[in-house]
């Protein structure tokens, strides 16, 4: 009897934590819905929620309704997708490299996309988004494949530290080449200084629908390997003895990063801060279980991106600030406030 009780006793505590985390998730989803509505309603020209409703259900082709349908909705959908992709890819990279400082920059993602887009714009002379979108994607795939191969040479395989250093080394080489091209081709430099910042503006709905399948696939893959990543977090030896296939977990995780970061970077440019910040904040809320971290990240990342986009539209009306610039201004104070009030460590 005593034995049975001691085995059962921890359950209520787990259940309470689960319930609290589930409730928190519902709250976050509510916030996300409100932010989405605000993103559709607010801007250079504010539109009442009634008009937004009519634009969906009683479309009569007024100016305001056209703005909602043709500009605000595609922008919000793209922000939603890109937010999920940047945040989740950051969380996956931090789990794979076991380094809380890692983000897409560290694995050479931005450098690969940057180099290929520099090549497309500076050497081939493309200027249309729909043309070089695929170059950005190919650049990310190229960089991540090389990083993985470079990091997994030898019998030890792709240990977190080797993966990190391989990413840093390769990213540096790619960056060097692309800044070399930029400095000798001022036209490419001029074009790319805008691409570098990242923006949600001026993307037609088609861009969002193009990247949708990649982001859905990447998200599902990430959630699928979350459990194995929990085992990997304990260290390679322990994970192996728990029956996790380390190599397969890493490859699948890298593929999910490739799909997520590749699609998002190609569509809106490199926006770095989200993938670093959201997983941190989420980890302080939900603990170390990657499954909860990933789910919370999926919900919270678009909140930050869309909020930053709204702020960017409102502060300098009638102009706007690009979302890549505003993200850090919105997120950083929260991050600093949080780290000052909590007593947390790296994991």
């Amino acid at each position: 009897m005593v034995l049975a009780r001691s085995a059962v006793q921890p359950r209520p505590a787990v259940a309470v934590t689960r319930r609290r985390q589930g409730l928190g998730l519902v709250v976050c989803l509510g916030v996300l819905a409100v932010v989405c509505l605000l993103s559709i309603a607010l801007g250079t020209r504010n539109i009442s929620l009634g008009t937004v409703w009519d634009a969906f259900w009683h479309y009569t082709d007024t100016d305001d309704q056209a703005i909602v349908r043709d500009l605000r909705v595609p922008r919000t959908v793209l922000g939603l997708l890109a937010g999920v992709a940047f945040g989740l890819s950051g969380a996956v990279i931090q789990a794979v490299t076991r380094n809380p400082l890692a983000d897409t920059q560290i694995l050479g993602v931005n450098s690969g996309a940057g180099l290929f887009v520099v090549f497309a714009v500076g050497v081939l002379g493309l200027t249309d988004l729909s043309q070089y979108l695929w170059f950005g994607f190919a650049g990310v795939a190229f960089a991540l494949t090389l990083v993985y191969l470079l990091g997994s040479v030898g019998r030890a395989g792709a240990t977190p530290i080797r993966l990190t250093l391989a990413g840093v080394a390769l990213g540096a080489v790619l960056d060097g080449v692309s800044s070399g091209i930029r400095l000798v081709r001022p036209r490419a430099f001029d074009y790319l200084r805008f691409w570098d910042v990242g923006t949600l503006a001026g993307r037609p709905m088609q861009v969002a629908t193009t990247i949708l399948p990649f982001i859905v696939a990447g998200t599902l893959l990430a959630l699928l390997v979350a459990r194995s990543l929990n085992a990997v977090a304990l260290g390679d030896d322990l994970a192996r003895s728990l029956g996790a296939s380390i190599a397969r977990t890493r490859v699948l995780a890298m593929v999910s990063v490739m799909l997520l970061a590749g699609a998002a970077t190609a569509a809106v440019g490199p926006i770095g801060f989200i993938g670093l910040m959201i997983p941190h904040v989420v980890r302080w809320i939900v603990g170390t279980d990657q499954r909860w971290i990933f789910v919370y990240t999926v919900v919270c990342s678009p909140i930050l991106l869309l909020l930053a986009d709204i702020v960017g539209r409102l502060v300098v009306r009638p102009g706007e600030l690009r979302v890549g610039i505003v993200t850090a201004f919105v997120g950083a104070p929260v991050l600093i406030w949080w780290i000052r009030r909590t007593r947390v460590s790296a994991q």
Binding site: V153, L165, A169, A172, S179, A332
Partner: protein, 350 residues
């Protein structure tokens, strides 16, 4: 030596013990020596090649103060300061990177962690946009921007002491904000100003002379002396805060001192030549892999930094001559390729 009191009991008074330098580990010593010699050899090569090639024998003669006046002018007045700066700044960057990686116990730790380079860039952009260009103006802007950012990060992270991880997170947050400010400037100003700032942002030794060598040499020399005075405490800190405290290190004060030294080293380098990337990040890791020391070691990192920067600067001058690349473009390529090769070789050897 110790004295015994009247009672004949040895109380073990405070004594000065001069120990011999102990066993000098062979492999690190050999690696340091080889890197130093290689850096010097590349230095001589850089002195002898250029628009006017001068045979190495004549270079050495000119350095000794002999030989023809024209050779002396080219070698000593024009080329030597640049080579000396590459050596000195390489040492500064290598040491600074080693300090930050040991303090943060993270191979991604670099002076950028505390936001110095981003802040320096902001300072330079503000100066070039609102005040004007000119070497000393830009250097001053970089110094003020970088130091102010580092101080702000330290103060924001301070709460009954600075816990290492909190420092990193605050540094990331502040860097992200300043990085956004920089991007805003870059897309706001005209193409000419943006290009000029971007070239500064790569770091370059073009057009530097004796006027820069003297202050840099004094700065780096003084900081090295201070660093020597702190002895092995960095290695103790790297073992963890509790372990270091148990071994008698005043953790908070020592960490602040090392932070100040590390920031001062990177400040000297950035003010002189702009933010030369990657040397501070790669040199300690490369040195550790070559010397096979368990932790981050200062002297090999410095030697590796000097070697990397001298080699990169020579390549930046000569690779696409007469086009002169900013040295930062080359450091990332050379350092990155070398890093990749080393990773592959290490993987095979395991």
């Amino acid at each position: 030596m110790s004295r015994t009191g009247a009672s004949g009991v040895d109380f073990g008074r405070r004594v000065v013990v001069v120990r011999p330098v102990g066993r000098l580990p062979v492999r690190p010593a050999v690696v340091c020596l080889a890197l130093g010699l290689a850096a010097l050899a590349i230095g001589v090569l850089a002195l002898s090649t250029g628009e006017l090639s001068i045979p190495p024998a004549d270079v050495l003669r000119a350095l000794a103060g002999e030989g023809s006046g024209a050779y002396r002018l080219v070698v000593v007045e024009w080329r030597l300061p640049r080579v000396l700066l590459a050596l000195l700044l390489g040492v500064a960057l290598g040491l600074s990177g080693a300090i930050f990686q040991a303090l943060t116990r993270n191979p991604l730790g670099s002076p950028d962690v505390i936001g110095f380079n981003t802040g320096a860039y902001t300072g330079v952009l503000v100066v070039t946009v609102y005040v004007g260009t000119g070497y000393y103006l830009v250097a001053a802007g970089a110094l003020v921007g970088g130091l102010a950012t580092a101080a702000a990060v330290y103060l924001l992270a301070f709460k009954r002491g600075v816990q290492g991880f909190r420092l990193i997170i605050v540094g990331i947050a502040v860097s992200a904000v300043l990085g956004s400010v920089n991007q805003w400037f870059i897309i706001k100003v005209n193409l000419q100003a943006a290009l000029a700032a971007a070239i500064w942002g790569q770091g370059s030794l073009n057009g530097l002379g004796w006027g820069q060598v003297v202050p840099v040499a004094i700065g780096v020399g003084l900081l090295c002396v201070v660093l020597l005075g702190y002895g092995p405490r960095l290695a103790l800190l790297e073992m963890g805060e509790d372990a270091a405290a148990a071994l008698g290190v005043r953790v908070e004060a020592t960490r602040l001192a090392y932070l100040i030294i590390g920031v001062a080293l990177i400040a000297v380098a950035t003010a002189a030549a702009g933010p030369i990337s990657f040397v501070a990040l790669a040199a300690p890791q490369l040195a550790q892999r070559l010397t096979r020391t368990p932790g981050i070691a200062l002297v090999p990192s410095a030697a590796m930094g000097a070697f990397l920067l001298t080699l990169s600067d020579w390549l930046a001058q000569r690779a696409f001559a007469p086009t002169q690349l900013p040295v930062g473009v080359v450091t990332v390529s050379v350092g990155g390729l070398y890093f990749g090769w080393l990773l592959i070789r290490q993987g095979r050897a395991q």
